[in-house]
Amino acid sequence: MKEFHPRILVFCCNWCSYAGADLAGVSRLQIKPHFRVIRTMCSGRIEPEFVLDAFRTGTDGVLITGCHPGDCHYISGNYKARRRFYMLRVLLRELGIDERRFKLEWISAGEGGKFQKVVNEFVEHITGLGSSRKNPGPQC
């Protein structure tokens, strides 16, 4: 059987986590290739609909990344992202989408190493869960 490679979507904010992802690149830190990044200016811009849309179109995992608490370039956008994250996680459960496929992490502009670690672990984790189409979450 063909090895399963997950499809993972990572949202990055322009100032911290996207810069951290760039730093991972500049430092040539090797990361599993099964993810794609969408950049927004702030993690506060990420709408629940984007995440739902991703799962609807067959994405196996969604990772939201932003500035560390207190570090947000826009003061508090990351706090709003965090609130939405927890709310949305409950909603995913209701919708029958395995909430373990959805994650939030704080990554600063100086943490290329953390970006590598977080993404690699998430890719491995989602690989373990298998395809989201074939293995939907527990039905409510």
């Binding site: 290739p33 200016m41 811009r45 709408e47 207190g70 600063s108 502009a109 590598q116």
Partner: protein, 1084 residues
């Protein structure tokens, strides 16, 4: 014009042109070996044969000789022609079986070997050399001699010709690369070597100096151009379709009236032949660090493949030899070049990363001097993660193994053993030396040089020469790395601006931006440019495959790939493409938008597009660089990323930037030397400054420093600069005060200053400079605080200087200094940079006071970089004993009765030695201020893992924060010396002035907006907005939100919060992001 048919395609040609030229016009490939665009056709090789149908008569003709005629019907690809060509190439091959070019052409015709036997003449009698010599060089040295099978190319009488000028044209056109010069002349032809590639490859007499040269134009090498010497040749003009080659250009001398001059003339590398025992210049595989840098480069002589010069084999063992022309009084270069340690570490790591096979790298060094910001952790990673081997040794000799051309490095290890090791390649870390013409220039400008031949500056005026109005920056005044050079560049600019403030903007003109094309009614027409970035992308991502894919995407009307999309010529190309193809959206797939988006936006603006009709796909930093081991996956990912960008680009709309008024005043936080220098600099440039100092008096740490390494009086300096600050009408000083809050954004800050008397003052200003300094580490080991004979360097300096305290030294006979206390350890993973020089300074000063004291310095690496090295040597000569220790074997200290006992494993003896000093001086490191975090939060700027402020870009933006309008200087950034602090302070002032020199600031375009039809006026958006940029207004009895674009910073939080979908963000609309998410549905 005549019209004819070639392979059933119509083509119009001017009369007199040949069939071959007509075929070339139609891009029909015709094999040739004797044809050259700049020479008359000759018809010797007969490979270019075509079938010509003229008035119903069919014949086979050499296309290079056959003139075009109306009504001809030509076929180029019949089986008969193929057979003829195959036969011809077999005949040719028989005469020159070794020629690469002949074999190449043969292979393309499907021929790999010849059935004919003939002596290997190494010449196919194509006559190119004969023609070029007579037609282009006007010499006719070469001609054909004899007939039939005796026919050959030769000079008259087969003798060396006095007419031959050894220009090498014959050789350069010869398809068999025959060394014709040997036949024609006794003169020695010198190859023209490419200077940028360090002579590792040849170049032409007309050439582009290097791939990203600005301007990216060819130049004619006056000394090597045959045309300029003899009026002949001009071959290049035949190839330049633009007709741009102008041999009449002359050097011009232009007079410009200026108010200030900045000398940034850089450096040369030390000529490694000066250390003949290393064999540079004799052994092919001994290269300099600069040569190796070119070898590593994608655009270098070997295309980025790491091979050695002698046999182009991939090395398995590389040795780096440090301090070649540095720290070496015998070669006249006694100073430390400062940058080579980090440079060699970088080269070793990159070599290991690029090498296709396991590669051993060894760095032979005296001391590793990685004292720059972040360099120590890089050094640690080189050791622990990359396995770079570091050997502390003196190299006595390098010799070459005759057969393998390998190199035997003979060295003395630290313990005194003589060892030998074999390497495939040796890299000499050559030092930085003043440029040859520096003395002449210095004389012309009446500036002085220092003892080492660099421009003379002083510790307190690091970018000033001795002549007013003449400033310097970079290595011209001494060895420096990139961030220091960039910092000094801004500092020199600040100095010049201070001088010329009254003339500001008197000669400026505005960039003319072409009128914007209205594209709103047009369908999307997207042009895509995919960058190879040398091999950075192209080496891992299959760029042509990406291009093929991109061309299949809807609305993409054009796609191409570039070696460097950011190069100046590609910028021109983008403008051309947009205009030619009427593109109204541009996508660039290259590096990160964080560094390059602005450049490309400006470019499409040149083409008449709104700058926001642009989108970038990051296929380097977030693709090729992080998936180096998975090229197929990287290619697939690159395709996805470009598709996502295209999907977003389709929905882009033109945007406008809002103008914001700027309050042309500055706040400087911190009144140490950095803050005071920055304030004075801004004041000199004509700006009002508010200087906030927490302590009751100005001066910072320098109040505890008495003299510099060079012996200058620091106290006097601090006193005079403090008075100058206090006297200056434009500077308002708040001592005993702290910023209570800082609100606002670039150009429009409001700071509440909590003053000493408990009150508060509100200040409005446009920029902030953070110059809050750092703290001395308080040691918690070595009996510090428990025994009063254990002191820090700062205390010790006071003891030496203060007559009231000097009695403590009177009884002292022996002093031990311990370096790296609170530096380079688990809790401080950085070098504090200044402690080695400080120890040397205080040791020397102590000797001046009491010559009979013994001073021992326990060190890990002595890091007296730059000209401080002279003082280190002086200290050794004066009798200071330097003993090294390893970080895992720190000196032990205890008290036995009244006696202090310090013991240490002496690495040369290999034995533990014990000393009983009267005073132990701890070189306590520099720590970031504990409360940096509070200020960082207030300003929304980041700190690094060591707690120092983190600049926008370590190399290129060393005093900026990513957040516009906020800058950093001095120890708040990282530990640094007085001159470096002053440079950085001046630099921060220059950078701040780039904003407050204008009365307007242009805000980002990606702000929020409201669809009033959808808005219910619920006010959620207003509540979540951190900038109070949204208010709820009532119009016609209906509540709705209103966005103040000047206040909106474009985070988009309100958009996600809006329950009715009425809020939107320009540049990141709901539809655009959905399009990117959905682009992935069928991908991966």
């Amino acid at each position: 014009m005549v019209e004819l048919l070639i392979d059933s395609k119509k083509v119009q040609m001017e009369p007199g042109k040949t069939l071959l030229q007509a075929c070339q016009k139609l891009n029909i490939p015709i094999p040739t070996l004797c044809f050259h665009q700049a020479l008359s056709p000759y018809g010797a090789c007969r490979l270019c044969v075509v079938e010509v149908d003229k008035n119903g008569r069919r014949s086979i003709q050499a296309s290079c000789m056959y003139p075009v005629e109306s009504g001809l019907e030509v076929r180029t690809d019949t089986d008969e022609l193929k057979n003829i060509r195959r036969l011809m190439i077999e005949l040719i091959m028989a005469r020159a079986p070794d020629s690469e070019k002949v074999r190449d052409v043969a292979a393309r015709l499907g021929v790999t070997k010849t059935r004919f036997t003939s002596p290997n003449e190494g010449c196919i009698l194509c006559g190119l050399c004969v023609r070029v010599c007579s037609e282009r060089m006007g010499r006719s040295v070469l001609g054909f001699a004899k007939r039939g099978d005796q026919r050959k190319v030769a000079p008259p009488f087969d003798a060396s010709s006095p007419v031959c000028m050894a220009c090498g044209a014959c050789f350069s056109v010869c398809p068999t690369a025959a060394d014709l010069l040997k036949k024609t002349t006794d003169k020695v032809a010198l190859p023209v070597l490419d200077e940028f590639d360090q002579g590792l490859r040849k170049r032409s007499a007309i050439y582009i100096p290097f791939p990203q040269a600005v301007p990216n134009l060819a130049i004619v090498d006056e000394k090597r151009c045959v045309h300029l010497a003899t009026d002949q040749c001009q071959i290049c003009t035949e190839f330049c379709e633009a007709g741009a080659i102008d041999f009449k250009q002359k050097e011009e001398i232009i007079d410009i009236n200026v108010g200030a001059i900045i000398l940034s003339c850089g450096f040369d590398e030390y000529d490694a032949r000066g250390r003949s025992e290393y064999g540079y210049g004799r052994y092919a595989n001994v290269v300099t660090s600069i040569e190796f840098e070119r070898i590593l480069s994608a655009s270098g002589p070997y295309g980025g493949h790491i091979v050695r010069p002698s046999d182009h084999a991939e090395p398995r063992r590389i040795a780096f030899v440090q301090c070649v022309g540095s720290r070496d009084p015998h070669s006249g270069k006694s100073y430390c070049s400062s940058v080579c340690c980090t440079c060699s570490i970088k080269e070793a790591i990159i070599a290991k990363e690029h090498s296709r096979q396991p590669l051993d790298t060894t760095i032979f060094f005296i001391d590793i001097r990685t004292s720059g910001k972040g360099f120590e952790t890089y050094y640690e990673r080189a050791r622990s993660e990359h396995g770079v081997r570091f050997v502390r040794a003196g190299i006595s000799k390098i010799s070459e193994a005759a057969e393998t051309k390998n190199l035997i490095v003979c060295y003395e290890s630290e313990s005194g053993e003589i060892k030998q090791e074999e390497f495939d390649l040796v890299v000499l870390a050559v030092g930085l030396v003043p440029k040859d013409d520096t003395p002449a220039m210095a004389k012309r400008l009446r500036v002085l040089l220092n003892d080492h031949g660099f421009l003379k500056t002083s510790e307190f005026m690091p970018v000033d020469t001795v002549t007013d109005g003449v400033y310097t920056c970079g290595v011209a005044s001494g060895p420096k790395d990139i961030p220091e050079s960039v910092t000094q560049a801004s500092a020199a600019a600040a100095k010049a601006m201070g001088l010329l403030a009254s003339a500001r903007k008197s000669l400026t003109s505005r960039r003319a931006i072409p009128a914007e094309v209205d594209t709103t009614a047009q369908e999307s027409r997207i042009a895509v440019f995919v960058c190879h970035c040398g091999i950075n992308i192209g080496g891992y991502v299959n760029v042509p495959e990406v291009i093929e894919y991109v061309r299949s995407l809807p609305d993409v009307i054009y796609a191409e790939h570039n070696l460097y999309t950011c190069s100046q010529d590609t910028q021109k190309r983008i403008v051309e493409v947009v205009r030619e193809h009427k593109a109204n959206r541009v996508v660039v797939a290259s590096c990160t938008p964080r560094t390059h988006e602005a450049l490309f936006r400006e470019t499409i603006q040149e083409a008449g597009l709104n700058p926001y009709l642009f989108e970038m796909a990051n296929i380097r930093d977030q693709c090729s660089w992080i998936h180096m081991n998975a090229p197929d996956d990287a290619t697939a990912k690159a395709k996805d990323l470009v598709n996502m960008a295209v999907c977003k680009a389709r929905l882009l709309r033109p945007l406008k930037r809002v103008e914001i008024p700027v309050i042309q005043k500055a706040v400087v936080i911190g009144g140490g030397i950095a803050g005071m220098t920055a304030s004075l600099s801004l004041a000199r440039q004509g700006f009002e400054v508010f200087l906030i100092e927490r302590e009751p008096s100005l001066g910072g740490h320098l109040r505890h420093i008495f003299h510099t390494l060079e012996g200058r009086n620091v106290q006097n300096f601090v006193k005079s600069i403090t008075e100058e600050v206090q006297r200056n009408e434009r500077i308002r000083v708040f001592t005993g005060a702290v910023p209570g809050s800082i609100k606002g954004f670039v150009g429009n800050y409001e700071t509440e200053v909590r003053t000493a008397d408990g009150g508060s003052v509100k200040i409005e200003h446009g920029v902030v400079i953070v110059a809050t300094g750092a703290s001395e580490h308080v040691p918690d080991d070595y009996l510090f605080g428990k025994d009063k004979r254990v002191v820090t360097q700062k205390d010790f300096e006071k003891m030496i200087q203060d007559p009231g305290l000097r009695h403590m030294l009177e009884q002292a006979r022996s002093v031990v200094m311990i370096q790296c206390v609170g530096s380079r350890d688990e809790a401080h993973q950085y070098c504090s940079r200044i402690c080695c020089s400080q120890a040397v300074k205080n040791a020397l000063r102590l000797y001046e006071l009491a010559a009979d004291i013994n001073v021992y310095v326990f060190y890990r690496d002595v890091r007296t970089y730059g000209f401080s090295e002279d003082y280190y040597r002086k200290a050794r000569e004066a009798g200071v004993i330097f003993i090294r220790y390893d970080d895992d074997r720190k000196p032990a200290i205890e008290t036995r009765g009244d006696t202090l006992s310090v013991s240490l494993l002496e690495p040369i003896l290999g034995e533990v030695i014990e000393l009983n000093p009267d005073i132990v001086v701890l070189s306590a490191g520099i720590e970031a201020n504990k409360d940096n975090g509070d200020l960082a939060k207030m300003l929304k700027v980041p700190l690094n893992s060591d707690g120092f402020f983190l600049e926008a870009h370590v190399k290129l933006r060393p005093v900026d924060f990513a957040t516009e309008g906020i800058f950093v200087a001095g120890m708040a950034h990282s530990p640094k010396s007085i001159d470096e602090t002053i440079s950085q302070a001046e630099a921060s002032a220059a950078r701040a002035a780039t904003i407050i020199a204008h009365d307007k600031y242009y805000a980002e375009a990606a702000v929020s907006y409201v669809d009033e039809d959808l808005c219910a006026g619920c006010g959620v958006c207003s509540k979540v907005c951190p900038y109070e940029a949204i208010e709820i207004v009532t119009e016609n009895e209906r509540r709705k939100s209103h966005v103040n674009e000047a206040l909106c910073k474009g985070c988009g939080t309100c958009v996600s919060a809006c329950p009715s979908g009425a809020m939107e963000q320009y540049g990141f609309t709901r539809r655009q992001i959905h399009a990117m998410v959905e682009a992935l549905e069928h991908q991966f």
